[in-house]
Symmetry: D2
């Protein structure tokens, strides 16, 4: 598979729960971290965007858990595809364990941009991300 973006991470032991593997909610953190790091590449600091009144908010997340991950395991979070659908950006993302290239989780994350409390479609995202995005 081709990836638009690859971000390497490593399971932190506290992210595992009493079942011994990474708690499901933490995958959402992993996907979020990778999206924010992806935006950094295009000059967008998420934290600064928020302060300036532009919020990228998650409208929907659909995660399929394939293989559990355990303490200290290295993995990559990828962005495989970005679709545009109305005011939504739809990120297709994966978590892949590094040691054996096993797919651990797949996500489809719908992100909306909210400018000063109103849904909108800021041109500068479209312009910046244009080359990597599939239009609707």
């Amino acid at each position: 598979m081709n990836h638009i973006f690859i971000y390497p991470m490593k399971v932190r032991d506290y992210e595992c729960d009493a079942q011994g593997h990474v708690n499901n909610a933490n995958y959402q953190h992993y996907f979020e971290v990778a999206r924010h790091e992806f935006f950094v590449q295009y000059g967008f600091n998420f934290f600064d965007l928020t302060k300036s009144g532009l919020n990228l908010v998650v409208a929907r997340v659909d995660i399929r858990y394939k293989t559990p991950m355990y303490g200290s395991e290295p993995f990559v979070v990828t962005i495989d595809k970005i679709e545009k659908k109305g005011v939504l950006y739809i990120f297709h993302q994966s978590v892949i364990r590094t040691t054996d290239n096993v797919l651990c989780a797949k996500a489809k994350v719908d992100v909306a941009s909210v400018v000063n409390g109103k849904l909108s479609r800021p041109d500068f995202f479209d312009n910046a991300l244009g080359e990597v995005m599939n239009n609707d």
Copy 2:
């Protein structure tokens, strides 16, 4: 809407992120807490189940975020319906803000039961949950 189960909670301030509202991943925690408390009603302690070799694992989660929640807000997490589909239990859940009854998030969570590492469909769940479950 009728609910099978209702669990009251309250936003903890540390669950909010720099955008000022509850971080998306925490909703997954909320839904999980409510499912575990639901099982307690039927005599199943999740923590003990895990130690005994029976793991309930989330195979898929589909969450729609409707309205953000803020620090200290009270809410309920509900279980609205449980479907059975092969070895999966599909939980339909909601997060509803208490003060104005606003729907903040909806989830569909596919849970599989894994006994000693193997997918299975333990009779005692089916028996215990029988009356609240919709069969496939």
Copy 3:
């Protein structure tokens, strides 16, 4: 021991780590939640305070871990004493397991109030909390 404030909680399974018991960092969350709920009693909503430019910030935390807690266990977080030392409020807090009254953790938390970025000692806290505080 006499407590100024008692807040009942219950271990959430995701708060346990791969060692099977509550991860140490979560105790800090528990102590924080109890302090914020304590302030609510006196009419202070932490979240609103922050938005209004008044931040209560933790300057130092000293936690002694006595007995581990496990998934789903009920407990109380207490405030046992509040001392005033210059611009600091020093909270003495405990985590006590409900089922057997065992002390699980003790904390001393130094809290400073910062108004619009400057350390200060807001009179309304002193006035409100006056009766429960030990002066320096």
Copy 4:
């Protein structure tokens, strides 16, 4: 200051709370991650140790918060000194922001080793860590 170990990290946006800066409890995570990565250097995988019945447990943590950190900021977590005191290893650690070398937090963390539920002082730690430890 000389450091025994330096581990580079970066603030993840979800680690910030509604006050806009990193929530205090997350520093405990940072310090833990660095200790575990430190042990990896000496051939100890924390996750495997736990499964084998050897638990390193935190008996006490004393953290001084000096300067808040914000979303996406890079920092290092260091181990500055390790003392041995009876069955305890006392880790002195710091969090230092990378961009301006500002000290953000300092910690003293007392770690005990528990073998199959009993406090003990495993020789292999002492042997492995011998050269970097100050004896009591």
